[in-house]
Symmetry: C5
Subunit: 255 residues, 5 copies
Amino acid sequence: MSMEIFLHNNRGVLLAYDQGLEHGPTDLDEHNFDPAFIMELAAAGRFNGVVFQKGLAEKYYDRRVPLILKVNGKTSLVKGEPVARQICSVKRASELGAKAIGYTIYAGSAHESIMLEEFGRIQEEAHNLGMAAIAWVYPRGEAIKNDTAPEIVAYAARTGLEVGADAVKIKYTGDVESFKWAVRCAGKAKVFMSGGPKAPTEADFLKQVRGALDAGAAGLAVGRNVWQSPDPLKMARALHRLVIENCSVEEALRS
Amino acid sequence: MSMEIFLHNNRGVLLAYDQGLEHGPTDLDEHNFDPAFIMELAAAGRFNGVVFQKGLAEKYYDRRVPLILKVNGKTSLVKGEPVARQICSVKRASELGAKAIGYTIYAGSAHESIMLEEFGRIQEEAHNLGMAAIAWVYPRGEAIKNDTAPEIVAYAARTGLEVGADAVKIKYTGDVESFKWAVRCAGKAKVFMSGGPKAPTEADFLKQVRGALDAGAAGLAVGRNVWQSPDPLKMARALHRLVIENCSVEEALRS
Amino acid sequence: MSMEIFLHNNRGVLLAYDQGLEHGPTDLDEHNFDPAFIMELAAAGRFNGVVFQKGLAEKYYDRRVPLILKVNGKTSLVKGEPVARQICSVKRASELGAKAIGYTIYAGSAHESIMLEEFGRIQEEAHNLGMAAIAWVYPRGEAIKNDTAPEIVAYAARTGLEVGADAVKIKYTGDVESFKWAVRCAGKAKVFMSGGPKAPTEADFLKQVRGALDAGAAGLAVGRNVWQSPDPLKMARALHRLVIENCSVEEALRS
Amino acid sequence: MSMEIFLHNNRGVLLAYDQGLEHGPTDLDEHNFDPAFIMELAAAGRFNGVVFQKGLAEKYYDRRVPLILKVNGKTSLVKGEPVARQICSVKRASELGAKAIGYTIYAGSAHESIMLEEFGRIQEEAHNLGMAAIAWVYPRGEAIKNDTAPEIVAYAARTGLEVGADAVKIKYTGDVESFKWAVRCAGKAKVFMSGGPKAPTEADFLKQVRGALDAGAAGLAVGRNVWQSPDPLKMARALHRLVIENCSVEEALRS
Amino acid sequence: MSMEIFLHNNRGVLLAYDQGLEHGPTDLDEHNFDPAFIMELAAAGRFNGVVFQKGLAEKYYDRRVPLILKVNGKTSLVKGEPVARQICSVKRASELGAKAIGYTIYAGSAHESIMLEEFGRIQEEAHNLGMAAIAWVYPRGEAIKNDTAPEIVAYAARTGLEVGADAVKIKYTGDVESFKWAVRCAGKAKVFMSGGPKAPTEADFLKQVRGALDAGAAGLAVGRNVWQSPDPLKMARALHRLVIENCSVEEALRS
């Protein structure tokens, strides 16, 4: 039940690619629409893990990079209080070679209890099969006004710890101090910053990552800021330098 | 878990006949109301597969053409956000000789999560029994304004790929370029154009199919444009020529 | 999985007695309130089957007439979109001696999907235990304006066929021609006319039955028009003559 | 599956004590709050059965009087359409020594179908373990205007019979004639009058019971009219005389 | 199924630390955010039990103090009628060393029936594995105006007893007399006062506890009034003196 396989120097950069289901092709272009392109990028970019839904894992995953199988999901076409239920069994995730399962919990949604219950069951099944359980904790729904407010992000982090996540993926609060509190609230659960939408410049993005690391994060799970980049491998190198080798933003940008 | 059995020259024409449940007898006439007529047509028309609900498969299917058993469904009498749940077990589908199961996902419906979850489970069961899983992905519900808009169709295609469909049945967008994007978004999942309602002329319909093929589709699943035709076998021959032999619309119409 | 046991000359008259749950004692009088009276009537009236809920079967069924165990039901006290869930297991139905299970599907109800799913499962269980599955398909709910409109009745019939019913119980449309279409839409599923509320005269009722038979129905399932009759056995004889011996209404009335 | 163990001279007086959950301590006083007091009363008062929820049975039941384990329940704090789900397994009820399970069905509630389904399953489990199944059938919810109206009480009685209850607990209609109809509608299911809230005088209450017996009831399930009485044992004796020994109200009051 | 392990002199002080999920980090400060700090405090403060969610138990629990594993929970981000479903299996709770499971029932919530049913199942599983079942009974939802009103607290206590809790955690009513009634209504279920939010002074809090003990409570489950205290160990000592050694508030404050 260890996150070790996804870490190098106790840090990790995970390549997220569940946006095809979550956001749809609007996020994709003529290169990155192709999961084979992403699989290559994951390997060539020395990512510590790659995140796929079941369909992509079955048809494209080649085991060169540790797999996190995202076992729930939804389209962005649905309106109303968000809910995403299990769409891949833990057993199948294991058969596909996953070393961890990923699961999104929309904390604050009117359907929160469905997801907390389902994660609780899945986490145990994953641990029984020797896989880690990573929670994407996203406060969302009518009741959530600002999902990057420090107290909301810290609550998300803590929720992950309490319900048994080995790692928690949360949004960045915008500054080191407040994110440090979120990291502390996550306790022994590793914190991965959520990459989020494409930042205006590479430096902007790397500064956020640097902030998260300085606050104690183990790394990040990043998609669009890599594979929407004009030079994804360059971005991958910069992130590797920044996160794994613990460089400054300036050093990372030079790589 | 291969679609091979439904393909010839890597192409396939599937005869859809689940309209009796989905739309009701309003789609049927004195010939095509009879599933035995359809079974004959499937064989004589050299279709690569035939789509039946459980009741029809039990009482009419004679194994001359590979079977796709549609395992969920609903009537069109129900209003509100659409949902169709499993009404045939995967085990029974297999016993009836099916080589694939079909399942409709109403992406964007308030009940989407029910169908994604159910498809997830059914897809695994089908694969475990050596059957392919084909997703009818139909964006529908309050939130969907235009279900043939290019970005919506591409999202449908991608949803099928992400959740593990071996093939996805989607509506045509109306032009080759935009449908090409949908096909690319479906990745290694085969794309079958949805035949849709009877087109004004045969040429109109065949042009759509030609467009889908030119965009990279593996074929189509067609019902009304064949069995509502005054000469269904002639239409079947035209489709065979167009899809399997890769002819032009003009050549196909001459067959 | 045959309906044979319920047929004579390929026709059948089934004695329905699930009204105690569905409508309540308002349908009952000092004779017919008693299930023992009905059991006697079923035998003496040479009915081809008798329909009971589990409670009646357990306490009154004596195996002289083939049993159809109605495995779902609801009271008429509930308002809103109708739903009736399983209240008798298929295994118990079999232990009680049933040769078929009966199940009501409220097509068009907002809860339709619950019943289609449940019927799908129950039909398979029944077949596995050698029992037939009979669907009461009743279009009902906000969306249904007229449940005897020809296209609605034909849709009900077809729904039964598609979901795997061995026989379907539907309302009469009012004329032979339109009911013929419904019967054809039911395909190899046997059609039983629903007896409905007590008709003004015996002749009125028998004419409806004659119409259904002329349209191709296998028979009818009748309750109130028999056991609310001043002479139920006479009515039973008339129906036997009309349905099994294929007499005219006039001949039947003379019996 | 017999009610025999709860009957003497084919009659029974059951001591109901599920009010602690259903109504809360507002029904209780300094004596009757204590389940041990009730257990003593059940034995000393020669009751034919005692009704407990699981928690009371586990901590207070001593097997001197046959146990009816109430396996569903709710608090009265909840508003809206009533629903009470299973809170004790049938297996545990049996382990605790129960000879019957009790289950409340709120007929007419928007959630009726949940309870009918659950009772259907529980009834079979109980029978399989040799226990009787007793239904508390209480028409309730928006749709029910008057739950002691004769046709409503008769419907409740019939519902119990139809769904397989061995005995049904229903409210008194207020007069012998109309209750007689309810009893007849219950058929071979034993009818137990529901004791209801404390009556103004003992005679008032005993007259109701006498009416129920004269109408054919097997007895009653009584709580408050006994254990809220200033002399519960006296009331128990009166009921024993009235019900088991079939005395008049006057004779019973003299006991 | 005994609470004995959590009691000393038939009294117990339980250290509650499920607030991280229930209320979020807003309850936490730079010391008490750390579950390791709490684990130390539980041991050093001679608590009779410690309450953790699964995630904390997996990562921090060291078996020095008996564990109560809280098996359901929710965030405070969700609005509307409260519901908390199971997020830790009873089996896993047992594997983690728990001697009891804790479960919150929001009595009066529109979702009450979900929690009563779930608790019913979990209680049996826990007993089968030799663990006690402790119910946090919190009347809450639209229908509850004042959750410390004496009749509401007594109803909560009684609900715990009726559904089979070995112990019930309830709020203090504010005075000894009314809480005594709640304790009596809980019968053989042990009553633990809920510590609640930080009281203005230590004396204020201890007086409440003293009141609960004088009313017959077995002790309390306390979180914030200990670990938000400037000197948690001092508070722990005071509680030990007050509860276990049965001292007066004044004596306890001197410790």
